[in-house]
Amino acid sequence: MTRYSAFGLLTKAFGGHAGWGRAWRDPAPKASYDVVIIGGGGHGLASAYYLAKEHGITNVAVLEKGPIGLGNTGRNTTIVRSNYLLPENNHFYEWSLKLWEGLEQDINYNVMMSQRGVLNLFHSDAQKAAAARRGNAMRLIGVDAELLDREQVRAMVPLLDFDNARFPVMGGLLQPRGGTARHDAVAWGFARAADARGVDIIQHCEVTGIRREGDRVVGVETTRGFIGAGKVGMAVAGNTSRVAAMAGLRLPIESHVLQAFVTEGLKPLVDTVVTFGAGHFYISQSDKGGLVFGGDLDGYNSYAQRGTLQMVEHVFAAGVAMMPCLSRLRVLRQWGGVMDMTMDGSPLICRTPVEGLYLNGGWCYGGFKATPGSGWCFAHTIANDAPHRLNAAMTIERFRDGRLMDERGTGPWPWAQ
């Protein structure tokens, strides 16, 4: 692998950008691997990278049914944060954020990590108390959190509707180390770094079955033939139920569609990530100038990577209520992604009842920020056949055992998480 550097970029620029080699190989699948990862999104590629880097397991394949990174890795709103209340979640996401902070140097790839802050607004005394409680929980385990009053919020984001008659802005909870990253670059960077360590990234190879001998997995059937595997990891969020069903598993997951939007390009308008406290709405501005925003799930089981207009209207209404100047903007693009919604809103990184088969999924709509931490913990779980303490609570059994990680206290309603 040729190392990317400023000097390399400069010399290639003078050469008309000719001579950039391909970033990762395009190998044919081997007959068998020590580990096969199903799913070439950010999580699958990160898992393969950390298997090679942290555990020395390089005889690894990542199988992807299409080109890598075109599922939820390329469909999110690119937000990175670790502002959770429950300790099981917060330790995990904080480790993920720490990996983000060193990721570009680690994988020698510019993922445009921008720690511009994530600001959660509140609009009532009760919400302020809840924000303070969450901020205190974060600070207790060493995560940065600041409770801002109304004037401090005004200094950061002057265009909010502070005097909204129904939902006046009273302040916000800020995580300064939160921010955004370039989502496609995360997939490409992990693919290139994993490939450099010997991982085979096999695109256009859809898994059609999981072969077992007794209780043990021995490989996967694919559209490019059978591929033997000592261990198989699933990282196919959105389609986790379908792939797990190939191994006879029935999971506490439903698939739901979530939409996101980008406006026309603008001069700098929002230099942080802002979330509305009186509706589900979050917004940031990309480096190209487009405002990137999203809201709630459409709210019914769906595998369609598109949503309906009812939710478009709902999201725009929330946006204009929070920031009235948005009403004059034109939305250029709108799309949907399929979310693995678990029954408590928290993810799964764990062993399964099938020996040698591991599960990474249930990311609800918070998978992007978890990408490096998820890969790191999943690699640990696969390599050691046991979870790391950071993902020890993220099991399937927690539902049966009554150890839910229900961050919002919503109950077993996936469409409401």
């Binding site: 139920s241 379908r242 009812q310």
Partner: protein, 91 residues
């Protein structure tokens, strides 16, 4: 946008309904044990295909409507009352 035919009110906009999830799960007997209740409360088939589900006509007649809907195409094959047994298309 779904157009859902309520058995009592006729075809109505999705916006009038509240989604209430998988209609194929049934509450087990009180003494069925933890595993049966775990399955009932938490696990779902979550098919990519035809899905029998509840929609509550919350902004209409307040009845629960059983709907057979495709989770990839969003087509609706049948709707009925909660006690109806609705045919599920092959694919």
């Amino acid at each position: 946008m779904h157009l859902i035919t309520c058995p009592w009110c006729g075809p109505r906009d999705e916006a009038e309904f509240a989604y209430r999830g998988d209609a194929t799960v049934a509450r087990p007997a009180a003494d069925a044990g933890i595993d049966a209740f775990y399955d009932y409360v938490y696990t779902r088939a979550n098919p990519r295909g035809w899905h029998t589900e509840w929609w509550h006509h919350a902004a209409g007649c307040h009845q629960f409507v059983k709907v057979v809907r495709h989770t990839l195409t969003h087509a609706i094959a049948a709707t009925g009352k909660p006690t109806d047994t609705l045919p599920v298309p092959a694919e």
